[in-house]
């Protein structure tokens, strides 16, 4: 099945969106998950609930509120306008921001679980052996939490690949910038272009499956700790 140019572009946009969002989430999510795993703050549960919201809320709710807040009269949009920055709705950057909110629990929660699973002891041992805080994080926490990182990356990436509701609300369906595969498939079906829908959906399915196999296969080969 050869994809039309536009469909190919949609695929490219989707992969770009998923990759960039996952990277952003790993960068933001790692310190957040670390704090959540270690903190004893009694109001921690409030933060955990906020992060977990996208797990329960329909994506369209998230998209709807994003649309309103990104508008020139909304809090985020207004702020951007004041700073002289370009508006974010209907832009790729806007989609990345939406995806970051939408996929956050899928990245933060596995990381948090992996970090708590390490426990206190290995870090104490490392401290007695002369490792500073940052040293301990890089040489002990990161390697020991590797399965968590893999899960977080895969889940974050996959979740963004399939994103529909949020993109529907704030994407604007601009080919080449904000038209992602899920929207393109939806449009093909609406317009009764079933063979195009098949082509795109099938390609995405095969790609996702191959990606997952590679990731889980690699994780097995370089297992950390007990096999």
């Amino acid at each position: 099945m050869i994809l039309s140019d536009q469909n190919f572009t949609a695929l490219f946009v989707t992969l770009k969106l998923a990759s960039i969002s996952t990277i952003v989430l790993l960068i933001l999510g790692t310190p957040l998950a670390w704090w959540l795993a270690r903190s004893q703050w009694r109001f921690k549960y409030i933060i955990e609930a906020i992060i977990a919201l996208p797990l329960i809320l329909p994506p369209t709710v998230l998209g709807f509120y994003l649309l309103i807040s990104l508008g020139p009269n909304g809090p985020l949009g207004g702020l951007l306008k004041m700073l002289g920055a370009a508006p974010l709705a209907f832009t790729f950057t806007g989609l990345v921001i939406g995806s970051v909110f939408y996929s956050m629990p899928f990245v933060v929660q596995p990381l948090q679980t992996a970090f708590s699973g390490i426990g206190q002891r290995p870090l104490e041992v490392a401290a007695t052996l002369g490792a500073s805080r940052l040293d301990r994080f890089v040489t002990i926490v990161l390697p020991m939490a590797r399965p968590g990182f893999i899960t977080a990356s895969v889940l974050g990436f996959a979740h963004t690949l399939g994103e529909f509701g949020v993109v529907l609300m704030i994407g604007g369906n601009i080919p080449g910038t904000t038209q992602v595969v899920s929207i393109a498939i939806y449009d093909h079906v609406e317009a009764l272009e079933y063979s195009q829908a098949h082509g795109l959906a099938g390609t995405l399915l095969i790609l996702s499956f191959m990606l997952l196999m590679i990731v889980y296969g690699a994780n097995r080969r370089y297992a950390v700790g007990q096999p």
Binding site: N73, F90, I174, A191
Partner: protein, 225 residues
């Protein structure tokens, strides 16, 4: 039932009930989805589409009662720029800059979108605006994009103009019908209608075509061929 027809149809069913005592159940959704459901045997009695293509397809497939297809309303296309004010349509169009996001309904899915595309092609803006053309899944979403301010300009349906806007006359302009092919919204009576309901359905469609029915429809911003 096309979602853009929600307001008028609710008013009509209310009057219909008062007059005949019959209750009409409404199901809203996109024309495309309804079409797919009907072709797979969904038990609707009447189908009010947002275009004329789908009713035509249903007729060709033999799924409707003979000669029951007719135009129940004709939509009009409006150019709306809530934050701006110009004397004329020309001025408004000339003012669309490369920084603006322009919202239209997806031309593949909505006759309003198709009409907007035709208008933009006529004024030579279709290709230049490609990167800034925001496509709503339906005319309702298109309206949403403009009303939240994310798109500065948009092509919406005449039936969508909110009451209070009529006071801010210089923010919207009606597009001359000559620039686009007519947006005929057609209705059909489906063969799947059961015998008992069939009679009531026919009564309803008659009411829809009646002067009283048309008055209600017109009040909500539609025209007739």
């Amino acid at each position: 039932m096309a979602s853009n027809f929600a307001a008028p149809i609710k008013a009509i069913t209310k009057v219909f009930k008062e007059k005949t005592g019959h209750k009409v159940i409404l199901a809203f959704g996109s024309t495309g989805k309804h079409y797919a459901q009907i072709t797979h045997g969904a038990p609707f009695d009447i189908f009010l589409a947002a275009d004329k293509e789908r009713p035509l397809l249903l007729e060709r497939s033999g799924l409707i009662v003979d000669n029951s297809r007719f135009t129940y309303a004709r939509g009009s296309l409006i150019l709306w720029a809530p934050e701006r004010s110009f004397e004329s349509l020309d001025a408004a169009i000339r003012n669309i800059s490369s920084n603006d996001f322009v919202a239209i309904a997806n031309p593949k899915l909505s006759p309003y979108g198709l009409a907007a595309k035709q208008v933009l092609q006529e004024v030579g803006l279709w290709l230049p605006l490609q990167a800034k053309l925001v496509r709503g899944e339906n005319i309702a979403q298109t309206f949403q994009f403009v009303s939240t301010g994310n798109a500065n300009v948009g092509f919406i349906a005449g039936s969508q103009l909110p009451e209070n806007l009529l006071r801010q006359a210089n923010t919207f302009w009606s597009l001359p019908p000559s620039l686009y092919s007519p947006i005929d919204q057609q209705a059909v009576l489906l063969k799947t209608s059961k015998l008992k309901a069939l009679k009531v359905a026919q009564e309803f469609l008659t009411f829809l075509k009646s002067t009283e029915g048309k008055k209600i429809i017109q009040k909500h911003g539609y025209r007739f061929p």
